[in-house]
């Protein structure tokens, strides 16, 4: 559309007479109505439920496999925490989170975050939301908050199902932590919740990256694949010693630091650095998503 003196005006009526209380009603409130609706749409979707179901299956699989095997895992065998499972069912949750961390969880978060804007755009619903007007910044904020809510729901699902199944098969009780100290069940459960929260927070950066990728395309599957690919690339780079200089800056670098939360006392340095790094990624990619989404033309 070429235009030199592009002046495009639509007028309805003669100005002042049209302003008035046609749209009255409730006090405007930030996002709450839209956020509730976003959660309903997100968690009402078959796809979201399927993702959560797959995640919930991981601790079940671990607990049942260990229960059925003739030889309980010896100390140091298998993934971390697995050897403690037979003593305390709680560790089904922690082992489950450890196993979903590198792939299943980033995959699920990539699907949800990549779909956030691109999905609406692909369906065409984005233009109707914007015309309502939902507000671009508000919509982006609501979408990202919903992604965080999904991260939390995902890790809590693994934790709760892990504790339930592990408890049913192996019983719950005092737990021996990685530091060798034994703590009561209450403290141990608190640690499991902390681990779930940390794992969810570890996904915040990936969620922001996914949101940014999602603002760049109308094809949701592309945004999902792109986001998951970045998660894999980050972990591959993290395992290559030759590029160790950039390791502390990779968003997946501190993902497994949650083991420090299962010590007595808790070792905070790595966990703290992990959270700070995630905050940095959220700031950078959140800003990029904002810059992109508030200026782009919505043509789909």
């Amino acid at each position: 559309m070429s235009s030199d003196a592009g002046h495009l005006t639509g007028r309805a009526g003669s100005g002042g007479a049209l302003t008035g209380g046609v749209i009255s009603g409730g006090r405007p409130r930030f996002g709450s109505g839209l956020f509730a609706s976003e959660l309903r749409v997100l968690f009402g979707r078959l796809r979201t439920r399927a993702l959560l179901l797959v995640l919930a299956g991981v601790p079940v699989l671990i607990a049942v496999a260990v229960k059925l095997s003739a030889h309980p895992p010896r100390p140091g065998e298998g993934p971390p925490f697995l050897d403690r499972l037979t003593q305390n069912g709680l560790f089904a949750a922690v082992t489950g989170l450890f196993i979903v961390m590198p792939f299943f969880l980033p995959l699920a978060v990539g699907v949800v975050a990549g779909d956030a804007i691109a999905g609406e755009s692909g369906l065409g619903t984005l233009r109707y939301l914007l015309v309502v007007p939902a507000g671009r910044v508000r919509l982006l904020a609501v979408k990202y908050t919903a992604v965080l809510a999904f991260c939390l729901a995902a890790t809590l699902t693994v934790a709760v199902v892990g504790v339930a199944v592990g408890g049913a098969l192996f019983g719950l009780g005092n737990a021996t932590l990685l530091s060798g100290d034994t703590v009561g069940l209450g403290t141990a459960l608190g640690r499991v919740v902390l681990v779930a929260l940390y794992v969810a927070a570890s996904m915040a950066g990936l969620g922001a990256i996914g949101l940014f990728v999602s603002t760049m395309t109308d094809i949701a599957v592309g945004a999902m694949a792109g986001t998951v690919t970045l998660a894999i690339v980050s972990q591959i780079l993290d395992s290559v010693p030759q590029v160790s200089a950039i390791h502390p800056w990779l968003f997946s670098h501190y993902w497994l630091a949650f083991g420090d939360l299962v010590r007595q006392p808790i070792a905070w340095p790595q966990v703290g650095r992990g959270l700070l790094l995630q905050a940095g990624y959220v700031a950078v990619f959140g800003s990029l998503a904002w810059a992109r989404f508030t200026t782009r033309d919505v043509l789909a």
Partner: protein
């Protein structure tokens, strides 16, 4: 899109006409703040878009480029979702949703998933979404696309009743007949430029009525018409064996009965005689000097 200024009078049904690709939808996108002009600004209600969207858009309901909903949600849930996106909230959401569904005849199908809707039902749901709240301006882009004749009639009746309630309707269409039937005003686009705009009556008045004579003596008749002062006379031969033809010309103020008398006086045998009011299509031909569906 160059220097386009659409004067849409309040309370009018404004037809926005143009062939496919003439820039109708692009104009609507810019006015609604979905797209930005490559240069210059777009204004709606005198305010710059998209900057003033938060103030302006609540006054506007829109159906842009066909309906778009979540296929996995029911029609009713789709409306709930859109209503939740609105910052201004009130407790009567459910009642408003039911009213909107009723207005477009979807009450019975409201619980069905959008995925299972026919094209016509989808179009109706899109209209219901635009009608969720009272609006000053409704922007409807091809609202009868995919509707059967019955549905098309219902939509026309709906547009008329909305206009009667004082809502200004901005109706984009490539169908002349549709605009002619419901609109009070119209604008015509061609390759990004505004060709003309004004009231339908004024446009129609710009085209002259046409006198049409069926006669086996076309030569004599044509002479008479020219002598009487009719312009743009033409002769089209018919299939009949005796040289019957249609001779026609545009009246420029002559009384048809006098032309008829002159024809008979000159000895032209008149088998059929009539005056055709100019259709909007003729008006556009007169105004633009070419057929409507010309795309370059």
């Amino acid at each position: 899109m160059v220097d386009l200024d659409l004067a849409v009078p309040a309370g009018s049904v404004f037809g926005f006409l143009g062939p496919n690709g003439s820039g109708k939808t692009t104009t609507i996108r810019m006015l609604l703040g979905l797209a930005s002009p490559s240069a210059g600004v777009a204004r709606l209600f005198g305010e710059t878009m998209p900057a003033a969207g938060r103030r302006v858009l609540p006054r506007v309901g829109a159906l842009v480029e066909g309906p778009a909903c979540y296929p996995f949600l029911s029609g009713r849930d789709n409306l709930r979702r859109l209503d939740a996106a609105d910052r201004t909230r009130d407790a009567r959401r459910e009642a408003r949703i039911e009213t909107a569904l009723e207005r477009v005849g979807l009450t019975a199908a409201g619980g069905k998933r959008y995925r299972a809707y026919s094209l016509g039902m989808r179009q109706r749901l899109g209209l219901a979404a635009a009608l969720l709240r009272p609006r000053e301006l409704l922007v409807l882009d091809e609202p009868t696309n995919g509707l059967d004749p019955q549905g098309t009639r219902e939509v026309r009746a709906l547009i008329r009743s909305l206009a009667a309630d004082g809502t200004t309707v901005f109706l984009s269409s490539h169908l002349l007949a549709e605009v002619e039937q419901v609109c009070t005003h119209a604008a015509v686009m061609r390759v990004g430029r505004l060709v003309t705009q004004g009231s339908i009556g004024a446009m129609r008045a710009a085209a002259r009525p046409r006198l049409r004579v069926v006669t086996p003596d076309p030569g004599t008749a044509a002479d008479v018409l020219t002598r009487c002062g009719l312009v743009a006379t033409s002769t089209a031969a018919e299939q009949a064996s005796d040289g019957e033809a249609i001779v026609s010309g545009e009246l420029t103020g002559q009384a048809p009965e006098e032309v008829c008398a002159a024809l008979v006086g000159a000895g032209a045998r008149v088998r059929s005689f009539g005056v055709e009011q100019a259709s909007l299509e003729d008006a556009f031909v007169a105004l633009t000097g070419e057929g409507f569906d010309v795309v370059e």
